[in-house]
């Protein structure tokens, strides 16, 4: 964690003046943002707008994790990666773009997949985690790591013309496993390559995810603990869904957890975390 900040510089006051005048944020909230670190798991369609707005708002440190390199088909939605970034690891491309936006933000690129061997130690170094990943094993891994490390998790997803957002493990609310104790059958999971996605849909969800991260980081708190936001881009409709509370019998966050260390999530889900969710041949 970053050290607490006692005061803003004159340059910071000028730069963040538009948000400093908000009574809900103010200098106190800005100082909290400046000493907050956020781990961004996935620098794709969600992670790009999220990192962009977290950096612009003056978050202290951003961990930018992605194992992929920038491909042509990414450019339609992954707006931190410009044409010149083609072939670069996304973590580096995102970090470079974020530094151009705000050189005061500490950027830590991780050009690797998140795995059970390293995830917990990594998550422990951050205050808030944003799940911008694109596959089921990583979603369980990130959630379990956040429960074990005691960190709030702001999770979003998008596919085709729809998006979903939930905050897990925050304010006594449920974790991902409380909601989804059993992974979906691999043949029912569609990825962006097969299902497609309109680029601005993860854009909208990534921005909404950044908003919830900022509210948590600033101490305002999120309204999406135990609540899911569901978006239908074709209908232009958002829906706020009241979710179940934390489950006392949850395997990881319940009263008697059976999961006390990270597992093999690819085996658990029957799918790969790095191959865009194709079914594993077991």
């Amino acid at each position: 964690p970053l050290p607490a900040r006692a005061a803003l510089s004159a340059a910071e006051i000028a730069r963040y003046s538009r948000q400093l005048v908000l009574p809900q944020l103010g200098v106190r909230g800005q100082l909290r943002l400046a000493s907050c670190s956020v781990l961004v798991v996935g620098c794709g369609g969600l992670g790009c707008p999220l990192a962009q707005y977290l950096a612009a708002a003056g978050v202290g440190r951003l961990g930018l994790l992605d194992h992929d390199v920038v491909e042509t088909s990414n450019l339609q939605r992954q707006v931190l990666h410009d044409e010149a970034a083609w072939g670069t690891p996304k973590a580096f491309s995102a970090a470079a773009a974020v530094r151009r936006l705000n050189s005061a933000v500490q950027c830590v690129p991780y050009p690797a997949a998140l795995g059970p061997a390293t995830a917990l130690q990594l998550v422990r170094q951050y205050d808030v985690v944003a799940d911008c990943s694109d596959n089921v094993p990583t979603r369980y891994l990130v959630s379990d790591a956040c429960v074990l490390a005691g960190k709030p998790l702001v999770s979003a997803s998008a596919l085709r013309l729809e998006g979903q957002l939930v905050v897990y493990n925050h304010n006594g609310g449920p974790c991902y496993r409380c909601l989804f104790p059993t992974p979906p059958p691999p043949e029912t999971v569609t990825n962006c390559a097969d299902g497609g996605v309109l680029g601005v849909v993860p854009g909208i969800l990534g921005c909404l995810q950044a908003l919830e991260v900022l509210k948590i980081a600033a101490g305002i708190g999120s309204c999406f603990s135990q609540c899911m936001l569901v978006f239908d881009a074709l209908e232009g409709q958002f829906r706020n869904i009241k979710l179940r509370p934390k489950k006392r019998d949850c395997a990881v966050c319940g009263d008697h957890p059976t999961i006390t260390a990270l597992q093999d999530y690819e085996a658990f889900c029957g799918s790969s975390a790095t191959d865009n969710c194709r079914t594993l041949s077991l």
């Binding site: 799940d131 694109d134 997803s157 729809e162 829906r239 979710l243």
Partner: protein, 101 residues
């Protein structure tokens, strides 16, 4: 004899692709001896709306993992799950969880 029950049944997150891509279904369940609950609704959906690959929607007598069931915009866990007694004009939504980023 329970009276007929009219429902708005919705599918989202891709679950609608098992229902000819149609997201909103205005449904009237016929009169029957017992009151309609979600358990019976699932059977009715399987017989009347679900045309192919039912295993992508229903497993055993419940929905497959990864589908959230919402009754009037609340998680069905809060409402009694399969045992929830349907009321006229209820809104039941089946939403497939998304994982893309």
């Amino acid at each position: 004899m329970a009276a007929p029950v009219s429902l708005l049944v919705e599918f989202g997150g891709g679950a609608e692709l098992l229902f000819d891509g149609i997201k909103k279904h205005q449904v009237t369940l016929p009169c029957q001896q017992e009151p309609w609950d979600i358990r019976n609704l699932l059977k009715w959906i399987k017989q009347n709306l679900l045309k192919e690959r039912p295993e992508l929607f229903i497993q055993g007598d419940t929905v497959r993992p990864g589908i959230l069931v919402l009754i009037n915009d609340a998680d069905w866990e809060l409402m009694g799950e399969l045992d929830y007694k349907l009321q006229d004009q209820d809104n039941v939504v089946f939403i497939s969880t998304l994982h893309g980023g």
